[in-house]
């Protein structure tokens, strides 16, 4: 989501400390991890929003020279997708993260994003389409 190890570390720490601080506000009728993910997501978006418009991504995770095993076609696509994800808006990256990396249901995603399921679906469909268009544009599919 953040594509920067130090930012991710800070957000993780802030998330759990905020969760601890606001534990009394947690609504037991909701899933705990949805609440926690929502805090994490909001913190991530705040962090991304605070970055300068052209803040470079940390060199830790960008453009490492691929080893021989990374040259396989599947890995090339993974890498291209990874880079495409960095170029789409955080709102789209968030739905991709929740759906494809955390394997959450639309209901859970709606709770986390505080959006109706229908909106979550259409945003995810748009995000997939944007990724595809980005990959096509760069000849990466």
């Amino acid at each position: 989501m953040l594509r920067n190890v130090e930012d991710a570390r800070d957000v993780a720490q802030t998330t759990f400390l905020k969760a601890f601080e606001h534990l009394a506000d947690y609504d037991e009728t909701r899933k705990f991890y949805s609440w926690l993910y929502r805090i994490a997501l909001n913190e991530s978006l705040d962090t991304l929003g605070a970055r300068k418009p052209f803040d470079p991504i940390s060199g830790d995770e960008e453009d490492k020279t691929p080893g021989p095993e990374q040259r396989a076609e599947g890995d090339q696509l993974s890498r291209a997708i990874d880079e495409a994800l960095a170029r789409i808006k955080p709102e789209y990256r968030a739905v991709i993260t929740l759906r494809h990396f955390m394997h959450l249901s639309y209901q859970d995603m709606g709770e986390i994003l505080m959006l109706p399921e229908k909106t979550v679906k259409s945003r995810l469909y748009e995000a997939r389409q944007l990724l595809r268009e980005d990959l096509l544009l760069r000849g990466a599919t």
Binding site: L17, F32, L104
Partner: protein
Amino acid sequence: MANPGQLVLINAEIDGDLDAAQRAELARTLLADPKARELRDDLRRLCQTLDAVPLVDPPPGLQESILAAMPQMAPPLRRLGDRPAGVTRRYAPAITVWRYAALLAGLLIAGGVMFELVRSPALEPSELAGTIALDPAATLVDSAQIARGPVSGRVSLYRDRAALTLRFEVTASTPIDARVSSEGHILQILAVTRGGGTVSDGGTPGMPAAAALPGVAMHGQDITVTFISDGRRVGSATLRAPAGR
């Protein structure tokens, strides 16, 4: 360019949300429109690749540093007297204890969310499980064939009275671990096969490895199994949990 109706159908198919009538409609669309077929193939490949991205665990020391910071903060005492509607006072302390336990569990389980896609050479699983013998009374729920890449064979999901169990009948030339994720619950199973091109024998020699999935829900959700060799993803499979206990 696909029309919005096609996009919805294709995406719903990827998510496994199509009913029979919609499947038939999509089949007709794909037959008639090569562009729609291309779109569907691209999106399916994209989503399969996304689904197979392994979670990366938090860097060493992060969990400890967060846990160490917590007691130094003022505890949320000002709200401890507030009770949810319908909850009597005598239950409030138990709920508070549960909240703290849930937070700590969340810290262990959900810690990976911020770190995915950030490459890390080390894999330190949030929860570890060893392999066990499969309960003979367990019933098969779902299974998937793994045919490509360095891992091949079959992974099957079983259900017994208490929980779900994964059974691995896989071969590989190198030792393989498996990472299981379902709705934010992440479990790493060590040595589902020890390599050498033989069927996995993580438990009893000659017997396929099996691993229980404590805490994994049963309400029809997807369970993703990612195979890892030497810190790298080498294959994956998605299984569907049974709906309802």
